[in-house]
Symmetry: C2
Subunit: 120 residues, 2 copies
C-alpha cells in the first residue's frame, strides 16, 4: 500500500496551516484509497517522523513525500534529506521517496499565473 | 496602466528563487502588456518598495500584489500590510492592492493534489 505525506514549512500562526488542512481534505475526497498525512519542518506538528508512524501502522509499505514548498533552498537541499534519512533508518521496512518541491511543477506555476491574471 | 508584483518570502540560497524567475518569465510571455516585477519579504532583493519604483517609472497607475505564499500567517497578516502601507505613502499617486495568498486559490490547491497523485 502506498501513502503520501504533504510536507510544509510550518509557522507560528496556526492559521498558516489552513491551506494544508484543505489539501488533506481534498486528497481524502479524491484519493480515498491512498492515506495522507501532513507534516511540517518546524513550528508545527507533526514532524516528518511523527507523520510516518501512523501511515506505517495503517499498513503503508511505500510513502511518497511531497514538499509543499515553492523554492528549493537550504530547507529542502540540506535539512529535508537528513530528516528523510533519519525516517528511513527508523522505518527500514518502508520505502520512502520524495518528489521535487511543488514549485517545480509547471502546472502549479501556471495556476499561479492564472490566479494573478484573474485579479487584474 | 496596471502592473503586477509577485511577492515571495525570500531565502538565503539563491536557487530558492528559481520558480519565481520562471513565474516572471511565464508572465511576460503570456501577459506582455502588463508589466511584472518580483519582490521579496526578506533575504532577497528587490524589496516590495524597490519593485514598485520601476513599475511607477514605466507608467503603472495601479499595481496588484500577489503574495506567492501558501499560508497566511504572521508574514502576511502582520508584516505585509505594513510594507504595503509604507509603499502607498511613498507612492501616493499609485493605486496599490493585494490579493489573498496564492494558497487560498482552489485551482492551485488542486494542482498540488494532481502533482502528488502523478508521483504515486
Amino acid at each position: 500500500m502506498k501513502a503520501i505525506i504533504l510536507f510544509g514549512h510550518g509557522a507560528r500562526d496556526v492559521r498558516w496551516r489552513e491551506p494544508f488542512d484543505r489539501l488533506a481534505t481534498l486528497w481524502r475526497a479524491q484519493h480515498p484509497n491512498t492515506a495522507v498525512e501532513l507534516a511540517f519542518l518546524e513550528m508545527m506538528q507533526p514532524s516528518l517522523e511523527e507523520a510516518v508512524g501512523p501511515l506505517a501502522q495503517k499498513g503503508a509499505q511505500e510513502i511518497v513525500i511531497v514538499p509543499v514548498f515553492f523554492g528549493q533552498g537550504g530547507h529542502l537541499r540540506n535539512d529535508f534529506p537528513v530528516l528523510l534519512q533519519d525516517c528511513q533508518k527508523r522505518y527500514p521496512a518502508l520505502k520512502l521517496s520524495a518528489t521535487s518541491a511543488v514549485g517545480e511543477s509547471p502546472a502549479i506555476l501556471q495556476a499561479i499565473i492564472d490566479f494573478g491574471a484573474a485579479a487584474l
